[in-house]
Symmetry: C2
Subunit: 338 residues, 2 copies
DNA sequence: ATGAAAGCGCTAACAG
DNA sequence: CTGTTAGCGCTTTCAT
């Protein structure tokens, strides 16, 4: 059922059909200009007639290129994957940009620790020309190992330690500070935060932004509970926050999902939003427009992160230099919750 | 910066270092048992010392296998991608199952029409051993074209027309019927539905389930508004529904996102859920547990769809037979909204 | 402008 | 159990 009677046509097949040599056909296939127009034309016809498609394996073997890029999503990423629009958005961004460059996207899900090795093997085998790493946790050794393997790498999110590879990130802290200023301007004085995991840069920097922003309020004490960026943790953290200080009049959550969770707890406990408590999130995912009330949030250009990642890795693969880092702006999107 | 001083080690390099022939080294690499233990051992050591990793291109060239599977997400899928947990869930399922089989996942995003051709070329080039197609729209010609190309294919979701390739789907209609029975049992008599797009099987079958379920209510007339599975369309459809019949006491939405939208409209218009209007969704995405009130919904095993898809394509690629279709059960998950 | 020839790194008969 | 020998399909000098 899978037998191809005559086998797929090869360069040789086309060459014979067109009365040319393999080399010339190869030139036509690769768009060389040094082929006589009429010859090129007859070769193109033969290609169409025979339905010839180049064999990428054979091509890679000699060119040492594969024209494909790996996107690695570590465990921490896939865990959040189920209810967060961030990674799907990045995937889309990277995918679309790569498609324009006629490169393939190979998705490597590093769900378990063992897949770490598998990925390294894979990359070592040079099945891809470059790697885009959606790194998240600080302890991640993958960026460095990949770099050591000699593969072009770019990561999403600044690494926690010293950055050894180029990365794309967004202005977490300044976005949060804008949110804090907004709250202060609204007259809020008891501002709490639901922070993200402190082993991720995004979690740390957003918390730093909160602390900085709080300085605009002389004498104000930080009120922090930590979550894991997901909804349930926002629900729980908000409860703890209210227990610690029932007089909270505003809360900044480090993700929209956690902010939504906070909204739920506030509603359950009879607090009106934004009248009693103002709430601001971070991410500006689609769902933030549909919470009740709609969420004021710090927007980050998710799709652009993807396209920039793609852009950078394509440059690196082409042997060009790239900036050590690109940090995209964030901005406050004001909706009814604050 | 990318120059490898000595070039990557090849079979030949290893063979010389271990004092064996290329063939024997190849045997060791591929786990053949017919190699003398001590020889195998010294070869393994040489492999480790040199950091040898097989070149997949060279291997594919001769074996005609690539050990990778493509997952194609058509335009309709990527559009929903931004706020729906369905495709991310399927990707995870497929990815994990493939990882266990030591196969790679190549993600092909068919965002535009032009990418249709690109994909076909890609598949024709045999860069992948098989294809998993997340087909959705009825008019989709891709399944048939891929089949014609002679590549093993399995699709997610029964095709609208005649099924020409094996597929995995869920019991849409019976799940909806269970939801309808539940509503009827609750004493609801004016049951409306927010249907999905009618050019998708999921949309059609869920509507069919509604119509069938309605028959339990003698004399009841269908009340249908169509959405696109996303939140905003649920908001809008619910408004139209209420305009057509303010006395509606229950609504079945063909997706959780649309059900959430309906919840919002109902709340805005002062209807209490479930007291005045009961609401049931479909999908059982994570977000359904966090709507207000939590959504009663028809559960479909998203992750399992992914693993089954992987299982099937691996079978096909291995030359084994597979069932023409696998239809997974759905079940009603009762929460506070109905 | 075109062809001949070499070879990318690997596997798979086939001998031995 | 191991080595020799052919290629897999393509690109790329190097001649012509």
């Amino acid at each position: 059922m899978n037998e191809t009677p005559a086998g797929r046509p090869t360069l040789e097949t086309v060459a014979r059909a067109a009365g040319a040599s393999r080399a010339t056909v190869s030139r036509v296939v690769n768009g060389s200009t040094t082929v006589r127009p009429d010859v090129a034309e007859s070769i193109r016809r033969a290609i169409a007639d025979l339905g010839y498609v180049p064999n990428p394996a054979a091509r890679s073997l000699v060119t040492q290129r594969t024209d494909s890029i790996a996107l690695i999503l570590p465990e921490s990423a896939t865990r959040v994957f189920s209810d967060d629009a961030f990674f799907p958005g990045v995937i889309r961004g990277v995918g679309e940009a790569l498609e324009k460059a006629d490169k393939q996207l190979v998705l490597l899900l590093a769900s378990t620790q063992s897949s770490h090795d598998r990925i390294l093997r894979y990359v070592h085998g040079r099945t891809v020309d470059g790697v885009v790493l959606a790194s998240m946790h600080g302890a991640d050794t993958l960026p460095e190992e990949l770099r050591a393997a000699g593969v072009p790498v770019v990561t999403s999110g600044r690494p926690l330690g010293e950055a050894t590879v180029p990365f794309i990130d967004v202005e977490h802290a300044s976005g949060v500070e804008a949110a804090m200023n907004h709250l202060v301007g609204l007259g809020r004085r008891r501002i709490a935060t639901i922070a993200g995991p402190q082993d991720m840069v995004a979690g740390r920097e957003r918390l730093a932004g909160y602390l900085t922003g709080l300085r605009a309020l002389p004498g104000a004490v930080p009120l922090v509970e930590e979550g894991d960026f997901m909804r349930q943790s926002g629900i729980d953290a908000m409860e703890r926050l209210l227990q610690r200080d029932p007089g909270i009049d505003a809360v900044f959550a480090a993700s929209d999902l956690m902010a939504d969770g906070a909204l739920r707890t506030l509603r359950r406990l009879g607090r009106r939003v934004p009248d009693d408590v103002a709430v601001i999130g971070f991410d500006d995912v689609e769902a933030a427009r549909f919470t009740d009330p709609p969420l004021t949030t710090v927007h980050q250009p998710i799709h652009e992160i993807g396209t920039r990642l793609a852009e950078q890795i394509l440059r690196l693969v082409a042997g060009e230099e790239v900036e050590a880092s690109v940090v995209l702006p964030t901005r406050l999107v004001i909706r009814e919750s604050a």
